[in-house]
Symmetry: C2
Subunit: 300 residues, 2 copies
């Protein structure tokens, strides 16, 4: 472990440089520059630093918007190996395509399987934060390479303990129930889980329970992924009608499509905060210490 810094090359992809500094600090490694050149024809040239022979190469790349990121990532992984890297690890704070984990209608591709099959063959290990495990229960069902799933829960609980008085944790849908229950137990706080009815990619309806018993508590909406945030925006709007303090919105993975962030604030959220798994203005909860600890268990 003492030699980790000398043996390890940390390469953040574009969009991951802030996280790269935070992770590098935890590992005692200075992030190095990965060059991506876009040719006029739309192709990407990847160039790695020299002197990779015998080193552990860590590719830091959050896998939101993966369609356009996958190929440059594979180029970097293959190039690192060709240049003598001992290990090529992927540190992907957000692991995309985990929601298409089943064939919901005939003929549909099960994207989670394909992504795993590709990554499996090009990197030696994978470290990620709270993958969206629903029908798939563990990354080992998808991956043959060693994986570590870091739970953001300790960092979120720590943030809530310091920043929110008398929290009432609220899971916006049933998929978040287990998750919110665990955070509530850790905080010794009450929790609720809402019922969501989805009418399409952007249209949701929420069934709000009786809240009169929770006057004085600050509602904390907690979810793993904030994408369009339509569910949470609807929940914020409805919560505002119950005489509670303005809700705090917390997410692990802030994809925050389009005007999701401003939409949450406009709906009346007191704050919108997230872990730093995807670079966003909402980043307030640092999970890189937890990631670094997981990375250290895989570098040898």
């Amino acid at each position: 472990m003492t030699n980790l810094s000398a043996q390890t090359i940390l390469l953040p992809f574009p969009g991951n440089t802030v996280a790269g500094v935070a992770l590098g600090n935890q590992l005692g490694v200075s992030p190095q520059r990965l060059e991506l050149h876009a040719f006029p024809d739309g192709e990407t040239l990847v160039r790695l630093p020299n002197e990779l022979t015998g080193r552990n190469v860590l590719l830091l790349c959050s896998l939101d918007h993966l369609d356009s990121k996958l190929l440059p990532l594979l180029f970097a992984a293959d190039a690192a190996r060709e240049q003598g890297a001992r290990q090529v690890g992927l540190v992907a704070p957000y692991l995309g395509y985990m929601r298409q984990d089943s064939r919901f209608h005939s003929g549909e591709a099960v994207s989670a399987h394909t992504v795993a099959a590709v990554l499996d063959r090009h990197v030696d290990f994978l470290v990620t934060v709270d993958p969206h495990l629903h029908r798939i229960h563990s990354l080992s069902e998808l991956y043959r390479i060693p994986t570590r799933t870091v739970s953001a829960m300790p960092a979120i609980v720590d943030w809530l303990r310091h920043e929110v008085r008398q929290p009432l944790l609220i899971g916006p849908d049933r998929e978040s129930a287990q998750w919110v229950a665990a955070a509530a137990a850790e905080l010794d706080a009450p929790y609720l889980v809402l019922d969501k009815i989805r009418h399409g990619d952007n249209a949701v309806e929420i069934v709000m329970p009786e809240l009169a018993g929770w006057i004085g508590h600050t509602p904390v909406l907690l979810d793993d992924i904030l994408s369009t945030a339509q569910t949470m925006i609807t929940a914020v709007r409805q919560l505002k009608q119950h005489g509670l303090p303005d809700p705090v919105c917390v997410a692990v993975h802030p994809i925050l499509v389009g005007d999701a962030l401003s939409g949450l604030l406009a709906a009346g959220a007191a704050r919108v905060v997230s872990c730093n798994t995807i670079a966003q203005p909402s980043n307030a909860i640092d999970v890189m210490p937890l990631m670094a600890a997981a990375v250290k268990t895989l570098c040898h």
Copy 2:
């Protein structure tokens, strides 16, 4: 061969529907609909038609701008196999990433190898038109799956024979020499190869030879790939100063980035025509009969 139409499912990707009709006509197969749904978070859901069991599935997708196309293509290939397809073939009229076929500077990824390694594992065969083979001499150096490289030459020569009187074939750089020589031999026409000096992605300089002996001939600039078309635009502009008829520009693969097409016409090209390997307004030379013949040798 007589049962090909009953056994084969042709699935053109978006942007390949016109080519899909042309290829389908040659194969006696109606193209079917491949659904791509874009989720708000940037992920893509692929849905295939039903009843693929025991069929040959042909995925028709030109591989320009591959970064954003690869993952949906892999989803489709894997889904076809999971749904019982006997064979999943990739018909890629243009095969991208063949120009990064060597490590030109230390640390660079050799993209052609990575693309081949990925496709190799997800499709059963590959049919393409004139891949940019330069340092790599055959697709069999890259691929383990069966591949067929279709030469567009017969179609181009046929077009030139009918459309251009007294052609003087001109290769814009040395990489095109072998190619232009073969077309010239076929047409029994003279040819020249220009010297190109590249100063960057967009800046080129051309050394123009003595042309006084070719008055009355129509210059035909012939290249495999037209991307920014800077080389050909420069060549057109310089050719216009030598008293020859306005040049005709012919390409196999019309990537035609940005205003490349209008740039060629503004520089003084009489016509800009291409094979239909990438859907573009320049498409005038149909290579789908040649592709269909190659596909038939691989479907069983």
